[in-house]
């Protein structure tokens, strides 16, 4: 198995230089490695929403559910609950995950359900041709806000920490090796994991240069500690010019939703006689 074998017949239609290529490259590498390590690829499911990011499932030849805008998380949760032996990886845009479907993200984190969410965060709506998103900086001039936005961005990682996510990380499409490492770590983590990937849109919000100047990789960071994680997560609020940390902010071992929920759900029953038995209680 190599990256080439994971390709499909679909023609890639992302803009040249798009940050999504790095995410595609990283996930293919990680899937290849997982397979080499003995995890069968037929137990992988990819889920995507709607937006430029979503095309990623067309480009990887594994099981996938190309869902709708904002709803990647519940689809991924439903798949995981149906079969906890699967590894379910959701891809969502920032408008998708943090705007249209924010509530699902909060609840998936609260449940600590064992899925991985990879957010392609370009901080702009690409496919709908350039409007602001929940993580666009204050004053962002988009097609729906020509004089600049009047609202501050959301710090999604801070929200995820408060919601109970047990794996929180940030990646950058221009730091491919770190991205691969973080994806692998997130997928192997038991419980809800989210990686916010800074992924510049070369057409509508090209900030490669800005990121290149501001990003740094977390080292000597205690990711098991909630307080230090919280402090690091709040260092950059998606608006200020503070340094932008990359890597894993928070990681906690905890039982997952499906472990708690599915405890008694595996026995087989003769439903026809059980229906009869149930009905006698109603006489």
């Amino acid at each position: 198995m190599n990256q080439k074998q994971l390709a499909t017949s679909a023609k890639n239609t992302w803009c040249p230089g798009c940050g999504n290529f790095a995410i595609l490259n990283a996930i293919k590498t990680v899937l290849t490695v997982l397979n080499e390590e003995g995890f069968p690829l037929d137990r992988i499911v990819l889920v995507s929403g709607i937006g430029c990011h979503a095309k990623i499932v067309d480009y990887v030849d594994v099981n996938s559910f190309y869902a709708i805008h904002g709803r990647v998380t519940p689809v991924a949760e439903g798949i995981k609950l149906a079969n906890p032996d699967l590894k379910v990886i959701g891809f969502a845009g920032d408008g998708d995950a943090y705007g249209e479907g924010l509530e699902h993200l909060v609840f998936a984190a609260k449940r600590n359900i064992d899925i991985t969410m990879i957010v392609h965060n370009n901080r702009v709506y690409g496919l709908t041709t350039g409007q602001y998103t929940p993580t666009s900086p204050l004053g962002f001039k988009g097609r729906s806000t020509p004089s600049g936005t009047a609202e501050l961005p959301l710090n999604p990682l801070e929200l995820m920490l408060a919601s109970g996510a047990t794996f929180i990380a940030r990646g950058y499409s221009n730091r491919l090796d770190l991205l691969k490492k973080t994806f692998k770590e997130a997928i192997m983590h038991k419980g809800f994991s989210l990686i916010d990937v800074l992924q510049p849109c070369v057409t509508f919000f090209d900030i490669y240069e800005y990121y290149n100047k501001h990003v740094y990789e977390l080292t000597d960071h205690d990711s098991q500690n909630y307080e230090t994680a919280s402090k690091k997560i709040r260092e950059w609020d998606y608006n200020s010019d503070n340094p932008i940390a990359l890597g894993t902010f928070y990681k906690k071992e905890s039982s997952s939703f499906e472990e708690r929920f599915l405890e008694h759900k595996t026995k087989t029953i003769d439903k026809y006689s059980k229906i009869k038995e149930t009905l006698t209680k109603y006489i």
Partner: protein
């Protein structure tokens, strides 16, 4: 006497639904067939709640306005329901708090003496009722022992005091019929879904659909079901589609407002061809409307919900047996045709209690979907003659299974290519033609009453009960389409053969079934519509009918 109508009333928190059920179960033990209507406002304490129990020799499916026994826990019950009393009616009331004529029982004093909880006043009242109706105490005892879990002994003691306090006014005949399970419409739907292989049920609470959620959650362990209550109805249907995609037979349930949120998911099911069963229990709208009351006003909304054109199977059962039977059909068809199946009911059916005769329902089993034979490389959307593509489920080492909300090719890969768009739309819609053919095997439109009559009452869903009973008295025919999509034109026409006058009876203000059959080229002569949140009683329908048939 072998035909009773009993009303028990009090305020919310008095346990009126439970008390009505206990009375129903007592008559059930005596061989009677039961229908119970439960009326309650949307509040937790206070207000006025009442249950009307009908106990009859033959099955009925509607309540009466007139009552034989009025069981009274508070003054409101007398004041609100006096008009229902006949000369022969008996009132049994709490003489500690209510002014009335009839049999007074000092309920408050008795429960204080017995150190029982306030809610056990209704047990005491039921004791008094059994005595007055000439029902043996041991029947009450048997029912209490089986169906009261908390403080059973205490409830029995209190009931016995009530029994001793009252005097016997009549004798209730014992009928030589075996008792039947008493189930709500929601419970019948749940059992029908289980029979069809349900493994996962996902719902957000919303009256009057919540009874299905509660029932399935309660029996989840027995049937190894996964029952999940997520953050909202959007999550409900999307989770459900994820679950179905991974091979679990999954259903969801809601009412109008929740269904609004589900429509994007419904359309996704149509495009992705992921099976899903949706139970929608109607209540009056628009908007919040009247949460705990009834209506049939979402027919066209549910029938047309979701962007784009796709096939849906929709049934509207009219009693518990039909709810059970058609829920099994709904889940089977959803999986065999890979389309959404909708079970459209209302508060009257969902929360009404029926004598349930499982043996009278045609045998059905879980039917497997069309599965991939592994002879050719797997294509999730293989373009077949019937439009149905063989399924494979994850994990399958030989198949990559891709489903897609976007227009896609046979592999499930997105395409916007013009020819492929129409090929795949044809493929999806073709399934409907085969579904229509298959539905010929089922009794999709029912007929009751005098089948030679040239006047037909037309009904759908829960109004069946009132229509069938009224038609028997008037010598009319009743025609009830159960399948509403795809509309069974052929069977509908057959059932109407010889009819010169059609009168549609509906719990809405515009005649939604009329509009539906108009689309198929049928005309209706009269409409009898009721849209005050309450179902038709027998007397109400009789009175309305007299006005239109003269």
């Amino acid at each position: 006497m072998n035909n009773y109508s009993i009303l028990i009333g009090g305020k919310a928190g008095d346990g009126i639904n439970q008390a009505g059920l206990l009375i129903a179960r007592i008559f059930n033990q005596l061989g009677y067939r039961i229908y119970m209507y439960y009326d309650y406002p949307s509040l937790i304490r206070g207000g006025h709640n009442f249950s009307i129990v009908r106990a009859t020799k033959n099955k009925v499916g509607t309540h009466l306005d007139q009552i034989d026994f009025l069981l009274v826990l508070n003054q409101d019950t007398i004041d609100f329901h006096k008009h229902r009393l006949k000369k022969t009616s008996v009132v049994i009331y709490d003489s500690d708090g209510v002014k009335s004529e009839g049999i007074g029982i000092p309920l408050k004093t008795i429960i204080q003496e017995e150190k029982a909880t306030a809610i056990s006043r209704n047990s005491c009242l039921i004791g008094g009722f059994c005595k007055a109706a000439g029902i043996k105490y041991n029947i009450l005892e048997q029912v209490f022992k089986k169906h009261i879990s908390r403080d059973m002994e205490l409830n029995l003691r209190v009931a016995h005091r009530g029994y001793k306090e009252a005097k016997e006014l009549t004798k209730t005949r014992i009928l030589s019929q075996r008792p039947l399970p008493l189930v709500t419409g929601n419970e019948a739907i749940g059992l029908g879904l289980i029979k069809g292989g349900l493994s996962t049920y996902i719902a957000y609470p919303m009256t009057p659909s919540s009874g299905l959620l509660h029932f399935l959650a309660r029996i989840a362990k027995d049937f190894s079901l996964k029952v999940i209550h997520p953050e909202n109805e959007i999550a409900v249907i999307l989770m459900a589609l994820g679950s179905s995609y991974a091979g679990e037979r999954t259903a969801v349930g809601t009412s109008g407002g929740g269904f609004c949120l589900m429509t994007e998911g419904l359309s996704l099911a149509g495009m992705s061809e992921v099976p899903i069963v949706i139970m929608v229990s109607q209540r009056p709208g628009p908007s919040t409307g009247v949460p705990t009351y009834t209506a049939q006003s979402d027919l066209h909304f549910v029938l047309n919900a979701g962007q784009g054109e796709f096939t849906r199977f929709m049934v509207s059962p009219g009693d518990a047996e039909e709810a059970y039977y058609w829920s099994t059909v709904a889940i089977n068809i959803s999986w065999r045709y890979q389309i959404p199946s909708i079970i459209l009911v209302d508060k009257t059916l969902s929360e009404g209690v029926f004598s349930f005769e499982k043996e009278s329902v045609k045998t059905l089993k879980e039917e497997k979907p069309l599965l991939w034979d592994k002879k050719q490389p797997y294509k999730r959307y293989l373009n077949t003659k019937t439009g149905i593509s063989p399924l494979s489920f994850i994990p399958d080492k030989d198949a990559v299974i891709k489903v897609n909300s976007y227009t896609h090719d046979e592999y499930g890969i997105t395409t916007e290519e013009s020819q492929m768009l129409s090929i795949m739309q044809d493929k999806r819609l073709r399934k409907e033609q085969y579904l229509i053919q298959e539905l010929q095997k089922y009794e999709t439109v029912k007929r009751y009453g005098d089948e030679s009559s040239s006047v037909a009452l037309l009904c759908w869903g829960s109004t069946k009960g009132a229509c069938v009973e009224t038609a028997e008295q008037f010598g009319l025919r009743v025609v009830q389409p159960i399948v509403l999509s795809p509309f069974p034109i052929k069977q509908f026409r057959e059932r109407l053969k010889g009819v010169k006058k059609i009168i549609s009876v509906e719990n809405n203000s515009t005649g939604q079934l009329v509009r539906l059959i108009n689309q198929h080229g049928f005309n209706v002569d009269e409409k009898i519509l009721k849209y005050d949140g309450r179902p038709f009683s027998l007397e109400k329908l009789e009175a309305d009918l007299k006005k239109v048939i003269k």
